[in-house]
Symmetry: C2
Amino acid sequence: MSKQIISTPVIRRLPRYYRFLADLEQEGVIRISSGELAQRMGLSASQIRQDFNCFGGFGQQGYGYHVEELREIIGEILGVHKKTGVILIGAGNLGKAIASHVDFTKRGCELIGIFDSNPLIQGTSTANLPIMPMESLDNFCSQYHPEAAVLCIPKDAAQKIADRLIGLGIKGFWNFSHYDLRLNNPDVIVENVHLGDSLLTLSYCMHRNEEQA
Amino acid sequence: MSKQIISTPVIRRLPRYYRFLADLEQEGVIRISSGELAQRMGLSASQIRQDFNCFGGFGQQGYGYHVEELREIIGEILGVHKKTGVILIGAGNLGKAIASHVDFTKRGCELIGIFDSNPLIQGTSTANLPIMPMESLDNFCSQYHPEAAVLCIPKDAAQKIADRLIGLGIKGFWNFSHYDLRLNNPDVIVENVHLGDSLLTLSYCMHRNEEQA
């Protein structure tokens, strides 16, 4: 499928479309109009049609969207059937939770290695994978060629480890460190999850609501 | 400070400004021009000036921004000195990690209670707080009046529990459940962290890069 450059807001909505369509499919819904889908998702019908047009459009005039087909097409676009090898760096509370809580395989990924610099947890397991020392990283990468890394390490360590990982062939980061990785590495793909920023945003919005009340 | 309605992208950038300014302050930087700050943050100087103008503008022509002062003003806007009472619902892997990994007090919040429906973990502690049964929720809320809730519960349980929490006075949600809470509750503040969607976005961007290579 040939693709044009898709804007970030559209990309951000794709996983959500995928999620809603999977729910609809599970509920046994065979087809849905853009209007119904819009209402369910809190979007406008024209927004949905516009988004889907970025990928060539999926609906048929007067019929709406075939739920299963549309979910499959969007899944294909998102790459859910890929098996991108992923390593996790940092197996503290958050790293362990991500390893065990997130279903990587449903998102086109496979978690294949976990690394931590703390000798006290090296050798223990999480999500059925042994936690390996950072010294094993080079060998592991040259043997298994992971393409993405989850970073659950302190901010201070993030840049150095990111540089090392890029040297080892990592092309994408799922970054939980409070460090803005992309600034010094414009060529890699970075998906940030800045939990602190997210909580602060909630604080701000609640705070503002209060003042306006 | 009187406030106009600020657009979502500006709000989303505020915590990041706050974070960068805290770093600068820690590095001993006294003042910074919008140009230098822009370069450091990967934004444009005019973007920064425009953002700050939403709050009345903070800089002085020819002087730039006073780092400590600006950080304090933005912190004040964000409400970092507030102590919004927060409860956590769902103390599985992810809930526990959030309770112990995230510094709530730095973000204007105080984690005051943790609840889970699993009797096996009730009574154990995480982040120095006992995990309480869901049955204690009503009493707890009428006694301590928490205003926000972190939801780390399965999607299927999210709507029902959210409704119950709204009835108990919760006005804001930090939502880690893969459920789009806001759709049925337009009046509450919802900050979503959809980890699965985030990982899928990374997958898509890597996948697309590959095809274009």
